[in-house]
Symmetry: none
Amino acid sequence: MDREKRKEQILDCAKKLFAEHGYYQAQISDIIRDANIARGTFYRYFTNKKDIFVTLLENFYERWVSEVSLKRKMMDLETIPPEEHFRHRVQQSLQFFAGDPYLSRIFLRMGLGLPPDMENTIKRLENQILELIVKDLNLGIKHNNIPSDIDVTVTANLLIGATLRIAYYYFAEPAKQGGAVKDVEAITDEICRIVLPGLFLKHTGAK
Amino acid sequence: MDREKRKEQILDCAKKLFAEHGYYQAQISDIIRDANIARGTFYRYFTNKKDIFVTLLENFYERWVSEVSLKRKMMDLETIPPEEHFRHRVQQSLQFFAGDPYLSRIFLRMGLGLPPDMENTIKRLENQILELIVKDLNLGIKHNNIPSDIDVTVTANLLIGATLRIAYYYFAEPAKQGGAVKDVEAITDEICRIVLPGLFLKHTGAK
Amino acid sequence: MDREKRKEQILDCAKKLFAEHGYYQAQISDIIRDANIARGTFYRYFTNKKDIFVTLLENFYERWVSEVSLKRKMMDLETIPPEEHFRHRVQQSLQFFAGDPYLSRIFLRMGLGLPPDMENTIKRLENQILELIVKDLNLGIKHNNIPSDIDVTVTANLLIGATLRIAYYYFAEPAKQGGAVKDVEAITDEICRIVLPGLFLKHTGAK
Amino acid sequence: MDREKRKEQILDCAKKLFAEHGYYQAQISDIIRDANIARGTFYRYFTNKKDIFVTLLENFYERWVSEVSLKRKMMDLETIPPEEHFRHRVQQSLQFFAGDPYLSRIFLRMGLGLPPDMENTIKRLENQILELIVKDLNLGIKHNNIPSDIDVTVTANLLIGATLRIAYYYFAEPAKQGGAVKDVEAITDEICRIVLPGLFLKHTGAK
DNA sequence: AATGAATGAGCATTCATTCAT
DNA sequence: CATGAATGAATGCTCATTCAT
């Protein structure tokens, strides 16, 4: 268990450094300095640089799956109004990114030219996010809440792009320009206000 | 003029490689191999690696200014309906990114940890895009087309995030998953369909 | 302590190479080959090429201060005849250069165009040597052993030039032309023979 | 003849640059920039970098032969008192170096590690100077003006070292510390004052 | 387990020289 | 003769990884 703790500590230092300097510019030397361990010790916990980066990404991925993806399934579409359902998801996503700004930064500003493993992990997460939203949209269509002739892929990308961008802008940038960090709640409201009218069909009183 | 041509050729090769492998992984050796020039020749045209990358970025920046930013000002808000105005801008932006997939890829997947000059160039372009949209939104509010209580910064980021993401997804990814490359026109319609209703006030018949 | 030993060994190899080929022509590749270490190992001990060269120079400088400059102060001008005093200094200087021919060679044939740090270290040593001699001459003048109307700067330069040249000729040149390496003692005698009569006032019997 | 002029001009620029930055740090690029000629033009006048440097050195060498070495032979040892003879030589040498500070600087601060040709040219000049002085000293001994038991090589090196050092100090250093540039005449007097008494035998009244 | 000295492939950059125009 | 674009061998330095202690 002590070993696990140490590993966590190294991961934390690495996360911070990767978030600040990116994969190539964050060096093993920096990590072991910040983690206060010897060079060789690092390699007792991670096989190589790629490994620690992928570990970080996988953690992020798993957390996303459990905190956003799985939770969403639990929500009962039957009882909750669809707009409220949508709202919850946006809020959950923003909350997730706000919860770990360093990892968000790493994920949201992933550069080109990373080793294939990493690219794959990222692609995997991105695709899963995309698919989840597409599934949601299709569900909305099936339930007659969303018009059946929208392009779900474009729409899903629109929603993802908007959400990630806002998450990056408000939670992952080091020096925030707009003064105080915005409230997740308030941002969620704003997003819904713009997107909901075009996305959901108006429910006429009598159903 | 011949010199200009050669420089262009080197830039083209570099662009492709940066788009594929990113800044750090695209090596001078690759560039000179692809451009079929000697090592020293490269340094006759660019002072260093950073220089060629920044040049690429600046080109992109200038083209954006002239092709999107400037053109937008010319549109007459008085005669064109505001929704149509918005539609044009989205279309222009998508068209711009579609026009140079390589550069778009470089720009849209810019990694962390780049030399400060580059970060600045990127930040500059991003901020200018943001400001332009904010200005547009404020104009819409002033003209009573957009509700005055929206958060313009959140909304602008939403629009940028959505547009860039879609541009990246459809035009800058090397292996397209969804089959044929989508039509700019069609995507524009889709975006407008989702966003317009929530963004613009309904004009009641009697004005 | 082992680390110190290794550093010393690298310095020794570098000294030899710098003495033979000068700063620019002695390459890191040569040093690591002669020192039988890997490229990276060199940079564990010295931050760069300049560093190892300056280290060599500083060593030389410090040794000169302790072996020649400080020792000289200890000599009692009251009890020792001034000519004898002068003789000691010449001998000490020659001994110093003879003691480390490689470093002497580096120091005595320092080329133009070296990085400023090095130039400064050299200038510092040269000036200190000059000042020490000027001080000595002034002391001789005060004690009425040296005529008060000599130009101390010209004289000091004359003595330095003569000494360094002879040191270089007899101790620092790789292929000795004149057969056997001369004895420090004998050379000292010769120098004194030429210079003393013109430098020191004749002490008439009754003082 | 125009060609000769152009060559001279290039040599002048190169001389200045070599004097300032040394052989390795003075680049062809600098020379052609200062000489205001094209890259290729340089190579029409000199086969390579070494060539122009050696040319400079050879010029210096030849000038020394004609201005110092040859002139000295013409002086009649029979009619001129030996001390006066010595004085002339010192003055001539100083004058020579004072006459071309740039070249003096190049010659007097020649670094280690130069291509063999150059080393040879330098050695040749140095040896010739040495030999000339040795010959002079031997002549003095033969004429009974100089004690026969001095070590001519040590003495010659002493004289050369002293003279070159003073020449460098007063004429070849860019920023002179001691205020105004000293007069050749005055320096000569000073040197003679120190060295003559020990070098020359006292001529007793009756010869 | 922990350490940190040693490693060496790899990279950006320089600069004297060539040669087609 | 003059030009200057092109060349590429050579060099200093970096940094992820290994391994003996």
